[in-house]
Amino acid sequence: MKKTILSAAIGAAALGLASAASAATLDDVKAKGSVTCGVSAGIPGFSNPDDKGEWTGIDVDYCRGIAAAIFGDPTKAKFVPLSSKDRFPALQSGEVDVLTRNTTWTISRDTSLGFNFRTVNYYDGQGFIVKKGLNVKSALELSGAAVCVQTGTTTELNLADYFKTNNLQYNPVVFEKEADATTAYDAGRCDVYTTDQSGLYAIRLKMKNPDENMVLPEVISKEPLGPAVRQGDDKWFDIVSWVHYAMVNAEELGVTSKNVDEMKNSPNPDIKRMLGAEEGTKIGTDLGLTNEWAYNIVKHVGNYGEVFDRTVGPNSPLKIERGLNALWTKGGLQYAPPVR
């Protein structure tokens, strides 16, 4: 009995000690020489190790962008794969510096969990995937189905709400790991698997017979996915946010990883200012970084469009349309405040 209480106490102490060390995240990151990002354990297009063991994906590249902004070196990013259940304690305790792990921005996560969200690097929505053999054309025909879902996600809650609102019965089969949930669906334990639409397309690729599965047309929720940091460190929050804004601004201004060196001499003052080529600029140092911060991001990782195309867009196996993630100038939602 004593032992149990003791081990619980030691666990609590570890939590306390870890978060005590995280007051100024930027200093910690600079001291240890790398930024540690919490990522998912394997969602193609978002964060997934490729056949050479290298992490790839839009969330991973966000983290590399942060490393490039701070150190001028995208390889100084370390990745910690986290299940959806482990991700929040990992960020709270300081195990990771930032969570770039397709996490939906919700009010309760923003408040009671003690996190801060600001940028959305992927606008998503929840959908369903079913076997074509079932002849289901709409999610409204799913009454009585067994639904595989990952625990501890907004997906799980949206699922409950959607079936309740539409007065449909279902049998939830809940798994802790995404991989377990999808294998169970693939093995026929469930009729339906549900997660964010981007995830559905990604997971379809991993199935035994991808062509026998289809994504239903309904999108039942708003899932703004973005990075989360701990509350109480505004400087770090600013850096994480502006990495995304720099990438979106770069795309808007036509700056790519290929032309970024020439663009430093561009006549456009917006571009020069962003890339730190303006005389006497203090934008980068005010952020706590060097004036080359945005140049380094674009040079080493690319602008938002390049990253999107490479990880989830036309140059990836997922082939997802830009849709909501197009620039605001092209009818999408990606909009960044000016670098000025």
Binding site: M1, T4, I5, A8, A9, I10, G11, A12, A13, L15, G16, L17, S19, A20, S84, K85, F88, P89, Q92, S108, R109, T111, S112, L113, G114, L134, E141, S143, G144, A145, A146, T151, G152, T153, E156, L157, L159, A160, D161, F163, K164, Y170, N171, P172, V173, V174, F175, E176, D180, A181, A184, A187, G188, R189, D191, R230, Q231, G232
Partner: protein, 399 residues
């Protein structure tokens, strides 16, 4: 004791302080107090540190979240539960599921374990060897692997819903579980329950009377046979007298799966089978050790007195063996209960899985870990108290 003797020899004129330092009793108390003080200090520091850090990180704390709307559904529930229920109720669903698998698992593991333990002692070479192989296999692989074996190896390999195995009594088996007809009781069902209770009470009194009579006259009585007749016979008589008010809700093919009836899900089945099979191997060894520990002379003495073979086992060997078996058996029951937390691996909604979901939806890590500790501690302590009581009762027979 030697120290005490030395102390009493020393003249009282010596300094009192030094005698106190040398007094082993005083020193013992001093060190105990010191240890306790350090422990209290440690726990207090840890608690303060945690509270301080939680406040600084702006993380909400406290147990108020238990009254909030859960918002998620649970696949397996013994009580009414929907996404509108509270987190507290979700937790109760989890606790009940844990208890369910633990209780049924303990019963199955005990029966299986006793059979295999006795089989290992069999004079039949094949039976003894088969039992030995069983014990060695299940004892030497981790329980998680046994769960996966059942879940991924056996139940996932069963046919899809449309090609279900048809079992007797309109039951079906497929990779979604075991579908059984659900009994629907008509009017007057409470009379059946009443008949059962009356039967049990009558059996208890009958057994007492039979024992007293045997003590007085030496005449044995068919206690078991009459007891079975009372416990099962009375409800059956009542059932027939009421005109058999029982119908069944049979599982039928639906849009996606079989509907109606009652279903035992693959998650529950694999966890239950794995825990039972795994723990049974340990119980078998305990049973074998217990029986082996009864001195051979006991059997020989009984033989010499002309006691019948079955009576030797029932009245002489087993009661003595049971006393040796019960304490280690308690540990196995506790192990089985704790191992049920592996349910999370196959998605069975036990208290660990439900708590994990709650942890994620609310972010109350410290509170939920504390709840887990308290729940498992309570279940284990209750089991241990019961088994200790049972053990004490059995031990009293000793002369």
């Amino acid at each position: 004791m030697a120290g005490m003797a030395l102390n009493s020899d020393t003249p009282t004129s010596r300094k009192k302080a030094s005698s106190l330092i040398n007094d082993p009793k005083a020193r013992g108390i001093f060190y105990q107090v010191l240890t306790l003080a350090l422990l209290v200090l440690f726990v207090w520091t840890v608690t303060q540190n945690t509270i301080h850090n939680l406040q600084r990180a702006n993380i909400a704390s406290g147990f108020g979240f238990l009254d909030g709307r859960a918002g998620f559904d649970i696949g397996q529930s013994m009580i009414a539960y929907s996404s509108d229920s509270t987190y507290g109720r979700a937790l109760i669903v989890g606790i009940l599921n844990t208890l369910q698998v633990a209780v049924i698992g303990i019963i199955t593991a005990s029966i299986l374990g006793f059979l295999i333990g006795i089989a290992r002692l069999s004079r039949n070479w094949l039976i003894a060897k088969l039992a030995e192989v069983y014990v060695e296999v299940f004892r030497n692989i981790p329980p998680l692997l046994v769960i996966f074996f059942w879940y991924k190896g056996v139940i996932s390999a069963l046919p899809q819903a449309r090609e279900s195995f048809e079992l007797p009594f309109s039951s079906y088996l497929n990779n979604r579980g075991l579908f059984l007809p659900k009994p629907v009781f008509g009017d007057g069902t409470w009379l059946l329950a009443l008949a059962l209770v009356v039967g049990i009470i009558a059996t208890v009194f009958m057994a007492r009377w039979a024992k007293q009579r045997q003590m007085r006259t030496g005449q044995p009585f068919h206690t078991v046979l009459v007891g079975v007749a009372l416990i099962f016979g009375l409800p059956i008589l009542a059932f027939l007298a009421l005109g058999a008010p029982l119908t069944f809700d049979y599982p039928v093919a639906g849009r996606f799966n079989l509907t109606g009836g009652t279903v035992v899900g693959p998650e529950f089945m694999s966890l239950y089978l794995a825990l039972s099979f795994y723990t049974a191997a340990f119980i078998a060894e305990i049973v074998r050790a217990g029986i082996k520990a009864v001195p051979k002379g006991q059997t020989e003495a009984a033989n010499a007195l002309g006691v019948r073979g079955s009576d030797i086992t029932r009245l002489i060997v087993l009661p003595q063996a049971l006393r040796i078996i019960i304490p280690p058996l308690t540990s196995q029951y506790l192990n089985l209960t704790k191992n049920s937390s592996l349910a999370v691996a196959v998605g069975f909604a036990d208290v660990m899985a439900v708590g994990g979901t709650m942890l994620n939806q609310t972010g109350q890590a410290v509170e939920i870990v504390a709840i887990w500790v308290v729940i498992y501690l309570s279940i284990s302590v209750t089991t241990a108290i019961f088994m200790n009581w049972f053990n004490a009762r059995m031990a009293l027979v000793e002369r």
